[in-house]
């Protein structure tokens, strides 16, 4: 079970045509502290998952048991908890609806980068972990979501059946701020009338094929 945490959950998805959604939420205060939450919602595929989770393998992929999934999530929670500066780390997994989530508080955005780096290093000890996925420049009043991962090559290696799973999957990011948003670099970003948040909703296939990007640089007012 030394596969990546993503793959453990992801292999479930790849086994059957299904819909899933990843929701990433960050609330950033002026002092650079805030709250982070990531939700993986497989609820649309729950009838199939209920049947598949009872199997040992499907199409040559190993099906993780509920216990293995819970264990993997607990391991991730442990790694995040150990990351300096992060507090109130909580994970949930609901096997009735197949929704998993992780949330935590941070005092500096860089701590989220450290947590991602720690998880990545634990799962892929031989590969170099990404340095940053978030960047907050208090002086310049900018918050950036970076994307240093590329799944393009891995995607190309997948079978047609496996590729199909991404066709209906979505990624949503919501970033909220105490200050007003002036601009967002990603043209697919939506900004509400209050200007206190941004939302980016994309199809995962567009992200993987690099047709669209999750990268976003948000400029805030003083």
């Amino acid at each position: 079970m030394k596969t990546t945490a993503y793959l453990v959950l992801f292999s479930c998805l790849i086994l059957f045509q299904s819909c899933f959604e990843i929701i990433e939420t960050v609330f950033l205060k002026k002092d650079g502290s805030g709250n982070f939450q990531m939700v993986l919602n497989l609820s649309k595929s729950k009838t199939r998952l209920n049947s598949i989770i009872k199997m040992k393998t499907i199409n040559g992929h190993e099906v993780p048991s509920q216990w293995e999934i819970k264990n993997k999530i607990a391991e991730i929670e442990k790694t995040v908890t150990k990351t300096t500066g992060l507090s109130n780390v909580k994970t949930t997994v609901d096997f009735d609806n197949y929704i998993a989530s992780i949330s935590c508080n941070f005092t500096r955005v860089s701590q989220l980068n450290d947590a991602v780096k720690n998880i990545y290093t634990k799962e892929n000890s031989k590969e170099k972990a990404p340095e940053k996925i978030y960047e907050y420049n208090a002086a310049g009043n900018t918050f950036s979501r970076l994307n240093l991962f590329s799944f393009k090559d891995e995607y190309k290696k997948l079978s047609n059946a496996d590729k199909e799973v991404f066709a209906t999957a979505n990624y949503t990011s919501i970033f909220k701020f105490e200050s007003n948003v002036t601009t967002a670099s990603n043209k697919d970003t939506k900004i509400p009338p209050s200007k206190k948040a941004v939302m980016l909703k994309l199809n995962t296939l567009d992200i993987i094929t690099e047709k669209k990007s999750i990268e976003n640089k948000i400029t805030l007012t003083n």
């Binding site: 045509q17 929701i23 939420t25 609820s43 729950k46 047609n160 199909e164 948040a197």
Partner: protein
Amino acid sequence: MKKIIITLGLCCMAYTITHAQDLLTQVPSTATLVIKYSGENFSKNVPLQKLDRYGFIKDDFYKTLHIDTLTSLQNIGINFGEDIYQYVVMEDTCMSFVTLLNLKNEGQFLKLIKANYGPVKKIVKKKNFSFLAISETSYIGWNRNKAVIVNTSYQNRQSYYGNYYDTASDTLTVSAPVSEADTIETVEVMPALPDSSADFAPVEDTESDTELYRIQDSINNLKWELWQQQQDMIAKKQQQAAAEIITSRVFSGKIYSIENDKSYKKIIDPAAHMSVWLNTETIITQYANFFNRGAYNILSDAAFNNADTSDGFKSSVNMYFEKDKLRMEQKTYSADPKMSDLALGVMNSRQNPALINYINPDNIGYFSMSINTEAMANYYYTFLKKYLSNAGYMRDYAEMVNVYIDLLEIIIDEKGIAELLPGNYLFVMHDMKPQMVDYTDYEYDEEYNRTEIKKTRKELSPNFTFALETKKESFMEKVVHLPLKYVERGDYNYKEKDGYYELAFDSGKYPVSSLYFMVKEGKVIVTTSKDVINMTINNTAFATDAETKNSILNNNYSLNINTKRLIEKLSTQFSTDVNKKISDYLLANMGNLKMESRVKDGMIQGTTTLNFTGNHSNSLEFFFNMMEAINNIIEQDKQEKEKTLY
């Protein structure tokens, strides 16, 4: 004189042509699998000119054969207008898969060989033919009229460890198996090391001890490697010898052909467009061995040394590529009257008409099976004796196995089993209806605050019934009643209702919402359909059509799949364009699949038909057209996706 020469010449030509058309005479009677491809397939059903035009043939098959796209399959020297044969045979210590082809142009065939294997490979001129070793396992032999391709695999690799521990002498020897081409040869590999433990007292490890162990390990590794190399050499030698024997027999004509075998003639139709004949009882063992070709000394353990001389079952499939359907005729036959009677006894059964009542007229498919359970149990005793007394280590204890199985026969009450399950079963897929399934989604207000909401979506839910006949109703009633006792401990929702039982699943959590169980009037019913339960309670029935009824009552096995209906239902779940396009194509071209099997002319015979619609000359062309169409859809989709990727 001139007339005599011309007459002789004509006779020789006539002989050559006749000989070229009759490759069956070159298939040995020892073959365990024989496949025939009628020349009619590529002269009439799908002519080579048409075959050349298929994109997937040009893109894939041509590449595999290393021929350029301008070359036609008509110009590679092979006479596709004549029958082609393939067979599997156990020759000596090798299992070989042999292909027999008629040639029409030796030069073109040679060009094809050179294109595939390069000019470096050395062609050996034998007495009546040319011979080329393509690899250690593949060989080609040919003359002006025909070609033989042999893919062979050595089956008697010896275990290093077995020989190492069994050899008491100071030298390690390798014995090559006896073949027609070889005599026993003994090769000295390496003098064995003296037993180090005898010379050295168990003292603390020192540097010199470590060094000694290191040297000993190196020597042992080297010996193991040498042993493997030697086994590879033996395999190569044996494989080439087997290929040469097979090839030379074909060209010398010294073969006792399977065409004279009664069991071949009886079940193979020479007019079939394609036929497969197999020795059912040995083919499975040989097939398994082929994939275990590295296994050690397989010949001394497996069924190749079968001491049983009774004639087992031979099966055949004769295929006909007819205008609007593919028809396959299956036959199973044993020349041994005892074995034949056992098989016919198993088929001595008729479906219970009460079960047919569960087949709704617009069903997606059904499968009906009616066998004689008591005869089946009796057949198993004979089968087990035959199998176990010849298999591996059991062979030496054949008499004991015999007694043990006789004892088993005394203990087991076949009549009792037959009363519990007489052998009549029916499965019906009534429908696949969309059922509403709830799921969790999120809604966002104008400030992107998230609220969890419940939504519903349509998902296909199978609606099926499995029914079987029983004469031990009280026992079956106990079985279906049993889960009630453990409801609380088992954490499931199982309830006894008015004459039936319901296992209810949490709403929207599984593809089916309830499973019903019922035992009534000699029937056990497991179904997802409440209608079926009500129907059984009220003693009513579906209006099953006469054709279905006749098919079930007149056959031991009857299967029907309404392909169009099945694709229609499944296509509602397809989300991508490529799958939708493929399902549209299949919907427009596929017809129903039907299979029936019963005893006819003292044999088990079955007919399977796959109908098709659309614009195709015959079913062989339909298959090529279908592969071409699906390949085009996938390729087109791939190209569109590539455009987005790069």
